[in-house]
């Protein structure tokens, strides 16, 4: 394996936000099991952006969900700031992870309730976790909408009346509401058109820098990962086959699978 990441958290595990140790996940399937993750390890430090790329079915979503306390590993451990996530009771696991790690999904149209107003979508996590007074929450919703480039008037609009780009901004505002330390984004721009995607990616970049947020970004699009992530993990059939600094892997991939993945990305063919 080609490992170029200077991972200081390896010597000082407490400095890591997430410390994923030798995690294996098996899904039961008819007459046996599917191994979705095989002995995967990974650390994410505060403010660090890690990308996960790989083909469909390679285990990207399984990895992110197991970190968020949603899929218990068959073997191995997930530590959040040094605490074993799956050794916690389910209530404290929920309280810790939903305040600290927020999720943004690929398809906001199916992950956000279409009948809610945009404002309610952002306010919800605050209400559920009992953060702030009613007045404070209301003010915060306005600020959050503004911080993702949505007009405050949109707060009263129902989710179904928003465009794809607006919805993904809204999903980001919702994720930011609890002031998390890390955002886990699973294909956050795959459903968007090129120019809308560019706006949303720029927004992720700005907000991450401003708030010193860590990011786990799952995508099959190498271009998106290259833009947002400092480090990248390449997954194939549940294995991490290569990892390192994004730019280095992009320029000098070692594993054949990584090479094939890079070659598959469509490239603009312009001849002047």
């Amino acid at each position: 394996m080609h490992d170029a990441s200077p991972d200081t958290s390896r010597t000082d595990p407490a400095a890591a936000l997430f410390d994923v140790r030798n995690v294996t996940v098996d899904y039961a399937s008819r007459g046996g099991y599917t191994r979705a993750l095989r002995d995967v390890s990974l650390q994410i430090r505060p403010g660090q952006a890690i990308g996960v790329i790989g083909e469909s079915g390679s285990g990207k979503t399984t990895l992110s969900r197991s970190m968020l306390g949603l899929i218990e590993p068959t073997r191995g451990h997930v530590l959040y700031r040094g605490r074993d996530v799956y050794a916690m009771g389910s209530i404290s696991r929920f309280r810790v992870l939903s305040r600290e790690a927020a999720m943004v999904f690929q398809d906001p149209r199916s992950s956000l309730n279409p009948r809610l107003s945009a404002g309610a979508v952002v306010r919800d996590p605050l209400t559920v976790l009992g953060i702030g007074t009613r007045q404070q929450r209301k003010a915060k919703v306005g600020e959050l909408l503004e911080s993702v480039g949505l007009a405050a008037e949109l707060a009263t609009r129902p989710v179904r009346a928003l465009s794809g780009g607006q919805l993904q901004r809204l999903a980001l505002a919702r994720a930011l509401a609890v002031e998390p330390s890390i955002i886990v984004a699973d294909e956050p721009t795959s459903a968007l058109d090129v120019s809308v995607q560019a706006q949303v990616l720029n927004l992720f970049q700005q907000i991450r820098a401003r708030r010193h947020l860590a990011l786990l970004l799952v995508s099959h699009d190498v271009r998106v990962v290259r833009f947002l992530a400092d480090h990248v993990l390449v997954m194939c059939d549940g294995d991490v086959v290569e990892r390192g600094a994004t730019e280095q892997i992009y320029r000098d991939p070692h594993h054949d699978y990584t090479k094939a993945l890079l070659a598959a990305a469509p490239r603009l063919r312009v001849q002047a």
Partner: protein, 335 residues
């Protein structure tokens, strides 16, 4: 077998069908009066496709690409109010008899939709669906068709229900069905958008090689300029229901003239080259109910003037052959 790129003036309809383009869409307007009143969601769209030609239709979600594809196959919903003409093989589609129309939809035009899972019948095996289409007349057997789209394990695929197939396999089955009746024109509406890059690449390569060996014309609908640049000889760009620019793909990418095309291209390039900040077009596209009169891009356009409150017509672009443009102040013009 001749492959012609480009066309003459797209407006004159030759009486002689032999010299007519395979598909000629002229002044096509589509309205949904119930939902959007008098707003044309397709607004005077002109497009021709010659036999054996690959033409891409590009634009943002909601700009009318799918409607254009549906109109070409005469499959628009009943709620649509349509003006203008669509001619297939020299014949006005909407003036056809029922029989002629059935013939055209079956043997003339094959359609591949974006979402393979919903466009296949979930309760029927892939093989049964393919056999049903082949029965109507085909030069190939279902097994041959599956092999031609690269599905080797034909026996298993024939028996499989759609949910038992992967996304790439489903998309291949759909392509096999679209090709079953040896169509002259295949309309592929974002056939790879739901797939991951590796499978996407295989499907695009498959479409290209089938197009070459079977020599059908291909209308390739996509929002991804990079993908289009790998496949299409000619490209038409749409914005908010209007066709704003068309011409040879290579030319358009090297020298976009419409500010929207230029913006899209810049955005695409910035992602390709990983600029520190990606280029994007300011603002966002409007919903049909709020479309502006005149040029619909003018609230986002850096070149806009008062003149743009009038509707620019798609015309031959004076600076280059075979290019059409609808803009008063195009990019790359000295003022």
């Amino acid at each position: 077998m001749t492959v012609t790129t480009g066309s003459g003036t797209p407006w004159s309809v030759p009486a002689d069908a032999a010299t007519a383009p395979l598909l000629a869409v002229r002044e096509l307007c589509v309205r949904f009066p119930r939902r959007y009143g008098d707003v044309a969601v397709l607004d005077r769209v002109d497009l021709t496709i010659d036999a054996g030609e690959v033409v891409a239709v590009v634009g943002e979600s909601g700009c009318g690409k799918s409607l254009l594809g549906l109109a070409a196959a005469d499959l628009l919903p009943r709620s649509a109010a349509v003006t203008g003409t669509v001619a297939f093989d020299g014949q006005d589609v909407r003036a056809m008899s029922r029989r002629e129309r059935r013939q055209m939809r079956g043997a003339g035009i094959g359609v591949v939709y974006q979402d393979a899972l919903t466009s296949l019948n979930p309760g029927m095996s892939a093989g049964a669906q393919l056999r049903q289409v082949c029965k109507l007349g085909s030069s190939s057997s279902p097994e041959e068709l599956l092999a031609s789209v690269g599905l080797e394990d034909t026996e298993r695929i024939m028996r499989a229900r759609p949910y038992q197939l992967s996304g790439g396999q489903r998309q291949r089955v759909l392509i096999a069905i679209a090709l079953a009746r040896d169509p002259q024109l295949v309309i592929a509406d974002e056939p790879t958008t739901a797939l991951d890059v590796t499978i996407q690449k295989h499907v695009v390569e498959l479409l290209r090689s089938l197009q070459r060996s079977r020599n059908f014309a291909l209308m390739f609908i996509s929002h991804d300029l990079a993908l289009v640049s790998e496949l299409a000889t000619r490209t038409a760009v749409m914005y908010a229901g209007q066709l704003v620019e068309s011409g040879p793909t290579r030319d358009i990418l090297a020298r976009p003239r419409h500010p929207y095309t230029a913006g899209l291209l810049e955005s695409s390039r910035s992602l390709d080259e990983c600029w520190p900040t990606l280029a994007s077009i300011p603002g966002s596209v409007r919903q049909p109910a709020d479309f502006l009169a005149g040029c619909r891009f003018r609230d986002r356009c850096g070149n806009a003037t008062e003149r743009c409150a009038h509707r620019p017509v798609l015309e031959v672009d004076g600076t280059a052959g075979e290019r059409y443009l609808a803009c008063f102040h195009p990019v790359g013009t000295e003022t």
